[in-house]
Structure formats: C-alpha cells, structure tokens
C-alpha cells in the first residue's frame, strides 16, 4: 500500500516499514539486544531525510518500550531514585541534542554527522558483539579484570554529592548517573536510539547495580527519554512522521513477541553472532557511502 508520508515528504510502501519493524523487533526479541540502532539506518537507506529518520526512530522506541517498562515497574525492578537522577541528565542531554540537530540541519551538516556517528557506533557494537559471541561459542567467557573495576570504583567514590540508592543497594555520587543520562540523551537526540547498549553495560560494570534492577531501570528511563526527545523533535524540528512511527511500532511489537518465542528454541550465542554480522554489515554500507563518488554531486529538497 503506497502512502505519502506527510513529514518525510515521500512515497513509501507502508508494509515495507511494518516489515522493518517486524525484522528489527524479531532480532531484538530473539537476542535481547535492543534493535533501535538498526531502525534509523534502514530508514535512511530507503531515502527518508536523516533528521526525520532520527526523530521518528526515537519516537517509535516509546511504543516499543512502553509495555516492558510497565511490567518491570509492576515487578518492582525499577530503582526510582536512580531513574529520576538519570532522567535529570538525559532530559538535559536530549534538549541540548535536539538543539544541536537543529543547528546542524540548518547548516546542511546533519546527514554527514549522523552517518559518522552511526559508522563509529555500529562498528564498535558490531565488533564487540562479534568477539563476545565468538568467545562464547568457544566456551570461554570474557570477564573484565577485577583490578580495573576496583580502580574505577575508587574514583567514583571520591566524587562529591554522594547519595544512597536503597533499591540498588548502592551509595555513589549523583554526578555519575546524571552524566551517564546526559550522554544517553544526546545519543537519543542525534541518532534516534534508546541508548540501552551504552547504559546497561555501564550500570552493570561501572555502577555495579544488581542485574534485575539494571534492565528495569534502564528501560524505564529510556521510555521517558525517548518520549521527551520525540516531543522535542516533533515540536522543534518537525522531524517525526506519524505514519512511519505507527507502522514501526506495530511491526516491532509483533516482531519482538515472535522473536522472544522463537528464541526459546534457538541458541543464544549463534543468534548474537547473526545480529553482530547484521550490525557490522550496516556499518560497512553506511561507511562506504562516505567514500563512493556520489551519483549526483548536487542534491535538492523542497522546503515548502
């Protein structure tokens, strides 16, 4: 069904978008790794303007994470105090990020910056997943060295503004989660991702939060960060397309469920390897775009 997208200003077969949501949702349901990092590149590949791809990418995560956040909140897996401190950082980061996106877009540099950021991020994530899953397949498990962790911990303990987080059973400076949130907020605004891939490892290995609380808290703060960024991108940059966002949510909800069910019958390590290869592949395709001589030196877009 061909549909004209009112914000992206282009024709698209809406079932293609639903299938993007399905495929990415399936992968994330299967492997437990958030698939948000793949949605924005896919949208850019089919010709959605990068700013709209980023804005819509962030907004659709709201739909994808709503039910999970609710479930974890009901189960008491959310450290509310931690979540709000994180949100203080991520909402600030989101606000500044959307402003930066606006300035970059006005100067005509946004698409380039997004491409660079994605090439870097996808390469890092893809490579580390690749190594991790290959090691796991060989039966070895990578552990961060104990020495390194204790050193990090001592630096964190010397920061001012120490605060108790009873649910997580931690005492640490509020500055750490605020900074972490800030970075994630920036990523959400500039790349249209939830940032779970950054937040979860840091919560686990740097802040040393209990695993159960990490998943619930990161999902909870991600819901509200993407909601804030979605609203800002729509209000400030006119960059959230309603049909794209709805189609993606529809696809990803079903995809995630199918993926989670299929995951019960398949091996995790091999699935992670597949996802890692997909991520590296997308990074290479985006990266090549920077070096290949463009077919058309001049580009044109109707403004009004």
């Amino acid at each position: 069904m061909e549909l004209f997208l009112p914000i992206a200003h282009m024709d698209v077969n809406i079932w293609l978008i639903v299938s993007f949501g399905l495929a990415v949702g399936f992968l994330s349901g299967l492997t437990g790794v958030g698939g948000g990092i793949l949605i924005t590149p896919l949208l850019i590949f089919i010709g959605v303007p990068p700013l709209v791809a980023v804005g819509t990418g962030a907004a659709q995560i709201v739909g994808g994470s709503a039910i999970g956040s609710y479930a974890h909140w009901r189960m008491g897996n959310v450290d509310m105090r931690m979540a709000f401190v994180l949100l203080a950082g991520s909402w600030t980061g989101g606000l500044i990020g959307v402003h930066i996106a606006r300035i970059l877009e006005a100067g005509g540099h946004f698409s380039l910056v997004v491409t660079f950021l994605y090439v870097i991020l996808l390469s890092v994530i893809g490579t580390s997943m690749l190594i991790e899953s290959l090691l796991a397949l060989r039966g070895r498990h990578g552990h961060a060295s104990q020495k390194n962790r204790t050193k990090n911990q001592s630096i964190l303990q010397r920061l001012p503004g120490q605060m108790d987080f009873p649910v997580s059973g931690l005492r640490l400076s509020f500055l750490t989660p605020v900074l972490l949130g800030f970075g994630v907020g920036l990523l959400t605004a500039l790349m249209g991702v939830g940032g779970g891939f950054v937040m979860v490892p840091i919560m686990l290995y740097v802040l040393k939060m209990p695993t159960k609380v990490v998943v619930g808290t990161s999902l909870f703060q991600l819901l509200f960060t993407t909601a804030e960024v979605g609203i800002l991108q729509a209000g400030m940059n006119h960059a959230v397309d309603p049909y794209l966002a709805l189609a993606l949510v529809l696809g990803s909800i079903f995809g995630t469920q199918f993926g989670a069910r299929a995951g019960a019958y398949m091996k995790g390590e091999q699935l992670r390897l597949v996802l890692a290869l997909v991520v590296v592949g997308v990074a290479i395709k985006m990266g090549l775009g920077l070096f290949i001589t463009p077919e058309h030196i001049f580009s044109m877009a109707r403004v009004v």
Partner: protein, 247 residues
C-alpha cells in the same frame, strides 16, 4: 479513450463553437481539481480542445513557486562531505511544457524568452541565496535536478494534433506543491501567438492526510505530545494483547 473523450467534448462544445465561430482556440481539461490524499501517487491531467485553421499548440502547466534547498557534495581527501548550501526561490515547483512541435521551430527565440516558455527563462528569474561563486554551475544543476525528478518536463511531441483537434496528457508526480496551478494553452501560427487560453487547476490536500500535515506543522508541540501518547498507548495495548494470547 482519449478520442472518446474528445468526441464527447466536441458534442458538448459544438454548439458553443458554432455560436462563436471566430474563436480560434477552445480548451478544456479533464479536471480543474487535483485532490492529494495519503494514497496519492500522481495523476494524469488531460488537456484537450480544438483549433480553427492551421497552427501548432503549446501547453504550459506551472505550479506556484516553491523553495528548494540545494546542496553540493565536495571531496575532502577520500571522503565526500556536504559542501555549500544554497536556497532557491522564485522558481515554479512544477513546470511542464508540451507542444505539438519543437517550440524553437514554431516561435522565434525572443518571443519564447519574453513569454517565459523556456527552461532557461525560469532559471534566469530564480533567486539563489546566498549567491554561489559559480552561479551558472548551480543554475545548470538546478535544472538538471528538476528534470531528473520530473518536476520540469519538456515534451516537444506531447500534444497530439489531428484535424483541428488536439490533446495532451500531463503526468503529475506524487509529490506536488499545493496551490493554484496555471494552465496556459497557446495557438501558434506563422511564428506568432494567435490566441492564449488560461485555466486554473487547484491542487489541494484533502481528508485526514491534509489535516494531519497541517496540524503537525502549525501545532507541532501539541502534535508531538499527542503522537507520543498514542505511540505509548499503542505499544501498551498491543503488548497486553500479546501477553493475554500467549498466557
């Protein structure tokens, strides 16, 4: 199909033409409204009519002016970066010229320029801001891009002329600037314009699509907040539904 329409048109127009036999050019269109809905993937606009005596026909369709953001890619080392950005105004978003013969054969150059019947006259009137260093390169690129996207179309054999009857099929692309389009039909004889007919085609967004597009633009904050709540609600409702089914 076209000829069937022509016959019908002639029947209805016949009496009017007899009453006013001196009219050298009569023009009609298949519609005077184009409704852009969310399913709009372009439309054919049929222009047809009759001329008395010998001559050639030129049909021009011109949309309201639109603003285009142009950008040039430049190479820095091995990497292609986005270079200069120029905004082009005062040029029509859509411009199509269909004729029964190549226009340079039927009208002198200065007349073509004066009437604005050439692509170069369009780009001459357009404003490039900030003015780039090599304006002529940008002007040429502007036309190339417009032609590539089939926003500007020149069809030297787009008008079929047979025994005083003519017809032309104008293909409107999916992405159209909105507003009143001007349709000008020229009758040319012996290197001179003998008659001109002017019509208007109203291109407008209708239905839910139009409402959404306008709402998102004019009340962007409310739109953002409402959409975000709808997305959260949709995700929540579907999630509950799936859980119930699997439980």
């Amino acid at each position: 199909m076209i000829y069937l329409r022509l016959m019908l048109m002639l029947l209805t127009m016949g009496s009017a033409m007899l009453a006013e036999a001196s009219t050298p050019l009569v023009v009609a269109t298949s519609t005077d409204k184009v409704n852009v809905t969310s399913h709009f993937v372009g439309e054919n606009l049929l222009v047809y009519g009759a001329i008395t005596g010998p001559g050639q026909v030129i049909v021009i369709l011109r949309s309201p002016d639109s603003t285009e953001a142009m950008q040039q890619k430049t190479r820095t080392g091995p990497i292609w970066l986005n270079g200069a950005k120029v905004t082009v105004t005062r040029a029509p978003g859509i411009w199509q010229r269909l004729s029964s013969a190549p226009v340079r054969h039927i009208l002198p150059d200065d007349t073509l320029q004066k009437l604005g019947l050439t692509l170069s006259s369009l780009v001459d009137k357009a404003r490039f801001a900030p003015e780039p260093d090599h304006l002529d390169t940008w002007q040429k690129a502007f036309l190339d891009e417009k032609i590539r996207h089939r926003n500007y179309v020149v069809e030297p054999a787009g008008v079929t002329l047979k025994q005083g009857l003519f017809s032309a099929k104008i293909r409107l692309p999916a992405s159209l600037p909105l507003g009143y389009y001007q349709l000008l039909t020229y009758l040319v004889r012996q290197q001179q314009v003998l008659a001109v007919r002017k019509q208007q085609i109203n291109v407008r967004q209708v239905g839910f699509q139009a409402w959404i597009a306008r709402f998102a633009r004019e009340n962007s904050w409310v739109y953002g907040i409402v959409l975000t709540f709808i997305l959260a609600g949709l995700g929540f409702a579907l999630g509950i539904l799936m859980r119930r089914r699997s439980a």
